[in-house]
Subunit: 452 residues, 2 copies
């Protein structure tokens, strides 16, 4: 029997969608590392009755631990500590030492915002230091302390771990929680799980469903594997979770996937295309994930041959900077990203990216010719080894019968003077088209770098 | 008694955080428009037992309707229709006419992916056309039909609206569901609510808590208003929900906020800074949200005087294209965004944005001087009325005692030759610093445009 956990995310602003929840997914990853099985995430408003109902549900469904996030702030609508205290049948008590520690923390804030209302701060501090009797305090990262609150009697229900809402407070605090004795005892029955991920690009999800049926027919013990597939920004992710004894079943399953999808499988180790592109640009070819180049099945193992380090620059139209923003997301990207040009108007395409205006006149701004010229302009103007050009119709306006919304041309100029140029017709609205085009560009860069 | 609703989001990939849930927040907005009170969102794995438990919870807590999203795909792990059928005590039946309609829909797919396994498609189609007896079918937008499944007996529990997972299928389908008789009768008791939003920039959330106490002391009937505050990317959002009779209480509350926060309140109508910047660049000053310019309390109502249309261009370093990507998010932005330069390396700052290398040498790349020079370079090189420069230390490396991680300099060059230049010290990791710096830049652009 594995340890089961539930997450209760509190906050009307999360429930109503004004803030997206980053804590649930992050905590889900941490629980998995600990071998804990996440069964439910509930999002509830800042209403004590609804919060209490969610906690009762988690207890009734047999959760061993419940994590809460949010509702620890200094304002009156932050009620989590009180609701959890009542759920665990504990009185609320003021922790004087905690008042002093929080007071120390907020001091610099009071110099930073000189017009702050001092009385408001004191009221908030006392509220944050009022905790269920007997709870273990997790030291504040921001101003809010976290809590580990055990059940009223041993074995009488889940241990509740109360964490703050802001991710940059919650994440460091989690390390403390894991080390605390109270949490360790709740986790004592956790069994180890393995989780592995395959990533494929450019096929529909139904193909994977068929591959599962093929694997079953070929005798792969799928009953020992918990396989889920999902389509995410045009990539199919196949995640498999299993107990250590099922290693061989997983290997047999991967073998079937490789046989059927050698041309679209790009990652066997969970690495993202972003990580693979970064590794290729750094010249770290061995970190490039897939063991061979999609599309070149049977050829020598291209990804394992050494690659030189390369610098990169972009010239984007429809993606409006999203590609260079994505390339610079990873720490250390300044080592290989020189920069980019966002050529939204045709004038900027000509003046900044050096596109010949006659090309635009003859073929239109959305064309393979202009995409290649943008790629060349990016590499020459920004003095980079590799240039990338993207031009398309993001919509909702600007489409025509010949060039509909969703048509995007992409080109990668490689150091040997060649181009890898493609067009795609992307579904969805403006945000989808821009987002998908950025992903397609990442895969085109990867393919060009593996091949160059 | 208002109509209460719950949302059950299914999918192991959502629960484990590999896909972020966009449906819950979107459905929350739609429910609010209908006067329906969303009480809970539950995220569950693709396990029938857990899904059934979430449905039972919603029924026990007295939900009148439950919306589900996801789990309608063609693969074997998509179980929602079956679980909902069993929950409503209905047999599963194959709808032959629906098989034919889905077959028509997937035909084009089969020409697009010529190597597709035809048998896999047929199996999936029959699975998707097997539905609970008596359910109302919502016509597929993708390949999956939605369902409206009533309780086994009148008043015997919630009506369940079964919707597909992909947002671009779910959203158009919702319109059908609202029109269907089955959903209308479940909604018959809905009472109208109003919801209004104030947005402030540049103060801590605790200040709003104090403002609530002040309003209470001044006799504002806060008990008639459901007020929630949250800090979102550096902006404080104050959302108030109330029944129509409480209009005057809301107006009295807004008056207190305006008195105390005239310098930081930038939106009284829920408009975002993005929308305000777009309106100002288009020359639609009246759409600019706040009734006066923060920081200029007592002066004539600047936002209501007409403004000329302006074009804009950016030169970014640490934000790596996120600012120009954000400026081009809105449809029609090509009318006023000329483009941008992402000057990640110093060489590109000099060659593309025209920054004097001696400025970099003397003051460092992260300095007010270089931010102003980037702003000037953006406007002159890209021939725009307004130029924006951003340069900072996004981290995790590159910080020093004098210029720590989080230090960002921003400058807006206005058509009169002036600059609005600021530095900020932003908390958090690399992603936080880049994201916050982008928001600060949006507010600086707004301020410069209102003042120019």
């Amino acid at each position: 029997v594995s340890t089961r956990a539930g997450i209760v995310v509190t906050g009307t602003e999360v429930l109503t969608g004004r803030v997206s929840d980053r804590n649930g997914p992050w905590l889900a990853d941490r629980l998995r590392e600990l071998g804990v099985d996440l069964a439910f995430t509930a999002i509830v408003a800042d209403r004590p009755g609804d919060m209490a109902a969610a906690l009762r549900f988690m207890a009734e469904e047999g959760m061993d631990i419940v994590l809460t996030s949010g509702g620890l702030g200094p304002t009156a609508d932050d009620l989590t500590a009180e609701v959890v205290g009542s759920f665990q049948k504990r009185e609320m008590v003021l922790d004087d030492a905690l008042v002093d520690r929080i007071t120390e923390i907020v001091k610099p804030l009071m110099t930073r915002w000189p017009n702050l209302d001092v009385e408001a701060i004191h009221v908030g501090t006392r509220k944050q230091a009022t905790i269920p009797a007997g709870a273990t305090v997790l030291e504040p990262v921001g101003t809010a302390p976290g809590l580990v609150v055990g059940p009223p009697t041993e074995g009488g229900g889940p241990t509740v771990i109360v964490l703050p809402g802001p991710p940059r407070e919650l994440q460091p605090m989690w390390a403390h929680a894991v080390q605390s004795g109270a949490l360790r005892s709740a986790l004592k029955d956790a069994t180890e799980y393995r989780q592995r991920m395959l990533r494929l690009f450019g096929i529909p999800e139904s193909e994977i469903a068929e591959t599962l049926r093929v694997a079953e027919r070929e005798g792969v013990r799928l009953e020992d594997l918990e396989i889920t597939t999902c389509l995410k920004r045009g990539e199919v992710e196949v995640v498999t979770r299993y107990e250590p004894g099922a290693d061989r079943a997983y290997e047999a399953f991967v073998k079937v996937v490789k046989e059927r999808h050698s041309d679209t499988l790009f990652s066997e180790d969970g690495s993202t295309v972003d990580e693979q592109v970064a590794a290729l640009l750094r010249g770290e070819a061995s970190a490039a994930g897939a063991s061979r180049e999609p599309g070149l099945a049977g050829e020598p193992d291209a990804a394992l041959t050494p690659h030189p380090a390369r610098s990169i620059a972009t010239a984007e139209s429809c993606t409006g900077g999203m590609l260079v923003a994505r390339l610079t997301e990873l720490a250390g990207s300044s080592e290989y990203v020189n920069g980019g040009i966002v050529a939204y108007s045709n004038e900027v395409k000509v003046s900044q990216a050096g596109v010949d205006p006659r090309l635009i006149e003859r073929h239109g701004a959305v064309s393979g010719e202009v995409a290649e010229s943008l790629a060349d302009g990016a590499s020459s103007r920004l003095d980079a080894d590799v240039g990338v050009g993207v031009t398309g119709v993001a919509g909702p306006g600007g489409g025509s019968a010949e060039k509909p919304v969703g048509l995007v041309w992409l080109s990668v100029a490689t150091p040997d003077g060649g181009h890898l140029t493609r067009s795609v017709n992307l579904p969805g609205g403006r945000a989808d088209v821009r987002d998908r085009a950025t992903t397609v560009a990442m895969h085109l860069i990867r393919r060009a770098l593996v091949g160059s």
